[in-house]
Assembly symmetry: C2
Amino acid sequence: MCRDSITSNISERDTYGVAMSRIETSSDIGKLVHSKRKELGLTYKEAAGLCGVGVRFWSELERGKSSLHLGKVLFVLMRLGLDLQVEGRV
Amino acid sequence: MCRDSITSNISERDTYGVAMSRIETSSDIGKLVHSKRKELGLTYKEAAGLCGVGVRFWSELERGKSSLHLGKVLFVLMRLGLDLQVEGRV
DNA sequence: GTTCCTTAATCCCGTACGGGAAAAATCATA
DNA sequence: TATGATTTTTCCCGTACGGGATTAAGGAAC
C-alpha cells in the first residue's frame, strides 16, 4: 500500500536505485515516513526514539497532520536519511 | 547574499536553468523563500497575500522559524513554484 | 538630516502543539 | 476466538502559533 504510493511518484531522475518523490502536502510526507519506517523494520516507539520525538508526534506525522512543527519534521526526515531537495528556476 | 547561498547549494543535477537546493533546516527554507520572493520582486505583504498567509507568518518563515506549521509552509512553497522532492533509497 | 518604504517586533486572544502515560482501538497470528 | 503487538486516542499542562493591527527598527534615496 505505502510502497505502491512511492512507486507511483518516482520521477524520471531515478538513478542507481535512488528515488525522488514529490512532496506537496503533509500527507505526502507522512506516507514517505511510514514507508521508510517499515523499510527499517521499526515500531513507532523505536522510530520516535531514534529521532528524539514522542510517539504521539510520530503517529500524527505518519497520518499527515498539517500543523506539526516544521523543524521537528525536517529533523525526522534527516534522521531517516530522506534528503529533501527543492527544485525551482534559478 | 541570499542568491549566493543558492549558488553554493546547486547540485550536479543542475540542468536547463533548473536548480536543486538541499533542505535540512527551516533556515534553509527561509533562505529559499526569501530568494524567491526577491526574484519575484514582491514585498512581504504581497507575497503573504499571494499565499494566503499573514505578514507575521511570512516574516517568521523567511527568518527560518522552526515551529511554523508544516502544512502552511508546504503550501507557500507550492504557491511559489518551489517543488519539493525527497530523495531516498527505494 | 529627512522622508518613505520595508522588515521586524509586539500585542491581544483563541486555538492548539507535543511530552509522556494510559486507555482504547486495531491488526496480525495462532 | 484469544492473545500479543502495534497504532491511535485521550488526558494534563505548559508553551506557543498565527491573524491582524500597531509600533519599532532598518535601509535607501534625496
